[in-house]
Amino acid sequence: MIDWHHILGEHKQSVWSTIYRILGNEADTADCFQDTFIDALEFSKKQRVKNFGPFLTRIATCRAIDRLRGRYRKPNQVTLAQAEEIGVLKSLDCPAGEIQKQESSEILLEALASIDSTEAEIFCLKHLDDLSYSEIADITGLKENNIGVMIHRTKNKLKVFLEKSEYGTKDIY
């Protein structure tokens, strides 16, 4: 029988951090934290889990992104597609120094909530949780090459989103 108390003790902080960095508040993080472990337990009743670390990280990321999408799913919210459609191009020469710390990360979160959830998930696993391509491949069932392509594509989307926010620049395009 799986020792869930041991697993909880071993992975509590990494799971908490994974969720907290996306959601940024304790109440939402606490909810997702519990859901993550319950989801993992439910899954483990049906299938064997090889490595709980990356597995829990993935569930935590998915849960957090779901919650994030709900947070941004409001009337009149401008998505990336809508922004492109209506051409919401802001000042092109806004210095990056004007970007405030919280604002740039909030914009990134908004972008992650707007793009395809699998792309957001893979991006977070790679860049926020520092999982290797191999670990991501193991827990998602995707090929490493596909993951590389997806991350590259996602980064470009995110950069476009940043660019189209009023804080971004367009220097590299």
């Binding site: 319950i38 990360s105 950069k159 620049t169 590299i172």
Partner: protein
């Protein structure tokens, strides 16, 4: 001037740095451990959605019983015999419960629930459902069988071998013993005892306070008030409990016999 690559990298770093000061609160750990414990012992896994205001009346009504059980379990005040309340409550194999809103409307379509020997009967929306924890069977008011489906009560909730109340109290309501032991009777009368409690953690989004009125002689809960956590704090629901088997409607007797 930075490139968008730099801006993206900076945003990523900012998010990564967000967590430096944040650690898992002890209360969240305890609650998660409790959920895992209950879910691991169960054939099915609990989800938190099992206890929310939108739930079917039966679950809310039965959960209301569980709240009383928890209160009686954890509260220790010899002068008002809470231990006897618990003892009496554990003997119960029949409870009839229904709720009334503070605006005097009944819950849903006049929903009522009966807990009889481990089976829940719910009268709601022109139908009767009989749920033994494994299968939920639906009948119309003439007693004609309409349909059946797997129970939404996760199999174990009504299992006689497992304590319904343990499942609800440990897995769903998550009462902390400190909350209960810190409570004092808000009223002691000749006939009634009234206790006031903060809402359990899992209900804090929609309930602010719970008061439970107990018959001093019977040692059984008479009714429970759940105050909604709304700007209009006067809004509440009353859950009424009675223990008289003679009250059973004919249709329930008919279905009971099936």
């Amino acid at each position: 001037m930075n490139t968008n690559e730099d801006i993206l990298a900076k945003a990523v770093n900012d998010l990564k740095n967000r967590t430096k000061e944040s650690t898992v609160p002890q209360s969240v750990l305890e609650r998660t451990a409790s959920w895992l414990g209950v879910s691991q012992r169960s054939r099915t896994v609990f989800t938190k959605s099992i206890f929310s205001p939108s739930l079917a009346a039966a679950i809310v009504l039965i959960a209301a019983l569980a709240i009383i059980y928890v209160v009686s379990d954890k509260f220790n005040n010899d002068s008002v015999a809470w231990a006897q309340v618990k003892e009496q409550f554990q003997k119960i194999n029949f409870v009839h419960s229904y709720s009334v809103h503070s605006n005097l409307s009944t819950r849903g379509d006049g929903a009522e629930a009966w807990y009889i020997d481990g089976v829940i009967y719910l009268k709601e929306n022109g139908k009767i459902t009989k749920d033994n924890g494994i299968t939920e069977m639906t009948y119309d008011f003439s007693g004609k069988f309409l349909s059946q489906k797997p129970s939404e009560m996760n199999g174990i909730m009504l299992n006689k071998d497992a304590s319904l109340f343990d499942v609800l109290t440990q897995g769903i309501l998550e009462y902390r013993s400190q909350e209960i032991s810190a409570a004092n009777p808000s009223y002691i009368g000749e006939d009634l005892l009234i206790y006031k409690f903060n809402a359990p953690e899992s209900m804090k989004d929609w309930v602010s306070t719970i008061t439970i009125t107990v018959g001093r002689n019977s040692k059984l809960p008479v009714y429970m008030k759940m105050y909604r956590d709304t700007p209009q704090s006067e809004e509440f629901e009353i859950y009424i409990f009675d223990y008289e088997l003679y009250d059973l409607p004919e249709i329930i007797k008919t279905i009971l016999a099936k």
